[in-house]
Symmetry: C2
Amino acid sequence: MLSVAIAQARAGLAEGGIPIGAALFDTSGALLGKGHNRRVQDDDPSMHAETAAFRDAGRRSGYRDTVMVTTLSPCWYCSGLVRQFGIGRVVIGEATTFHGGHDWLAEHGVAITVLDDQECVTMMREFIAARPALWNEDIGE
Amino acid sequence: MLSVAIAQARAGLAEGGIPIGAALFDTSGALLGKGHNRRVQDDDPSMHAETAAFRDAGRRSGYRDTVMVTTLSPCWYCSGLVRQFGIGRVVIGEATTFHGGHDWLAEHGVAITVLDDQECVTMMREFIAARPALWNEDIGE
């Protein structure tokens, strides 16, 4: 499932954007929605990878049986999304270059898996080194 | 400032949507962005009032000097937005019909004002009574 999120992140990078991708699946592994950060592409600060995947999945009455897969530890904004909508599980490519709210989600009963994927780490390291101001803007720092 | 958010909520209601509105101001009182919940109108579960106002304000390098005004206590998703981007102050029309993450924001240094505005309370009470399934969908319950 991480490969779908990584492909989204690479698509974002190719568009000149921030290389973070995400995808929402159901527990059978069916893809419900996918997306990537669109701050640069759409001039839209509200579209992080996770919110883009959530939007792409459309309206649902519940999320307990869904899995959010993201290339990077979810920031507080995206962690709040997971908590509010009761997404049952989050799979995270890496939490080395950025540590968001996934410990808080675990405390509130969300199943968290951090994969420590080196492709995700390298992609973010190279991006942050190349465009630090854009990265800081995206996380409000 | 609340009147801008209430006007947004009423516009959303008139469109057949969920009557929650928000607006982002700077500390001088200048309006930066405004919006309302767009779940019904755009089939977009990611557009809560606060995220719509945030999007409408466009890209900014910082939010410490901004005030988010919303007709209703912000849910975890919107509270996460406030925390991640360092919005300095949140003014809330009411927290009677729904109690979101504003206590958590206060613990993390955000200035919180709850106005207990009766127009906001009545608007939400009537909406929840009329469309309980839609309301539960919007908050993931």
